[in-house]
Symmetry: D2
């Protein structure tokens, strides 16, 4: 059966879920916007995300892409803490601007029973050209029938 | 110096270039549209591209993504037969429809002096959801100064 | 339940399977060696695989990596024509030598119930350094219980 | 001119370089072994690397793969703080074991003038099967001639 194209979790619900399940990193992110098959997430950049010279670190960008693609999936299927990233491909294209947040938009390109596939673009806030792109695949655990 | 955002090769010029440099495959492709940083290519699907059951083969889809990203690059920098693919990541998301052409749109996300990076979406003609996405990186040979 | 580490299809069985299911391309490949979680495949390079200058085309290298990873999976689970590639990442590192076959060795790094993941190295026959590497993921269709 | 196959930085030199250039994360890593075209790095797992349930986070695994591939490159070319990651593809294959360090081995498959390409396998210490694989590409800044 085809999945619904209706949003099942909105921005406040995704934030609540993050605070419950990923409390260590919940303060780093803000869900900016949720649309069908598309979610925008802000990385609130602080000292711990930086590398010398003020640029945002690679792991911080990976983490942002991961959260964006995960939430684009959860927004459509509801809270599933057990969904896991299986594959990620990242292109680092430009140096992030110093001292500004990063904004990631994840588009859900496929939502199957077992896998979701997204494309993510990451921008330094206020810049026109993306600093990175990512493709992310999530494995969705099978729903147990009762 | 920043690259120009003007198109340097239009659709007929790209077709002529393909017939000169890649004559073995030139009849398989048509350049549908060229815009700044975006090119749309058709794979004219014939017997040789198919797998049993009528679906388009993986190598044919790779070839289409490769041509689309290459032409998105050449459209902006002019004819450079020596640009080479260095990295490609492909997600195969849906089975292509039987008996129809594939349409790929490549968006150029970065055009640097040494590398270009693109994102490609491939559709079965007339279908709403993509069959595959690809990210492609090209190495651009250094221009000799005179 | 954990999968067995015993080979379920040997080289002649894989060749027979290829001739039955992928007859269009069966003459292009030879299964050189099958070990637990590792398969070596030869691409018998002919005119149709070449680009101007005598180098092997990108789609031909993709096709070789795809067959190698697929057969590394099938060797361990038996004939499953329905397993499909879901993700592939390719690094093109060197120009293949002109006029020689390509040899690919795929190592199976994970064989789960739903996914297999491999790493593939491709060499020009007789050369010491690889021309390409690939990572490949296959979705394995669920086995129907009786 | 071909690059040398001799190691230019050994384990203590790489550790010193990390403490100078990446002091925020230097205490998280230990260089275990350096061989020509191969480096092994330990991620000293602590609270900050964990997710609920005790598993190591995705960004921590990305960071480990990144350091391993970077140091495999630097070991052969000498200290180049300006080399930057341009592409990374990651397959997450198994859940890391709780309470143990991660060990990554990066093999340098290509070292060109402009790019290095590596393959990385990550293991939970003491486990036989890898938790993740990564392919990493670094852009090496041009050496200014005098």
């Amino acid at each position: 059966m085809a999945r619904s194209s209706e949003v099942m979790m909105d921005a406040p619900q995704l934030m609540t879920f993050m605070r419950e399940v990923f409390q260590q990193v919940a303060d780093d992110f803000n869900v900016e916007e949720v649309k069908p098959n598309e979610v925008t997430i802000r990385l609130i950049v602080s000292e711990k995300h930086l590398r010398p010279g003020g640029t945002v670190s690679g792991p911080s960008m990976f983490g942002l892409a991961d959260v964006a693609a995960y939430f684009a999936t959860l927004a459509m299927i509801g809270p599933q803490a057990l969904a896991v990233t299986t594959n990620c491909s990242l292109d680092f294209m430009r140096k992030p601007a110093a001292g500004v947040d990063l904004i990631a938009t994840a588009k859900l390109l496929k939502l199957g029973r077992q896998l979701s596939v997204s494309h993510v673009l990451i921008y330094s806030e206020g810049m026109e050209e993306p600093v990175a792109q990512a493709t992310m695949t999530y494995a969705i655990p099978p729903v147990k029938s009762l």
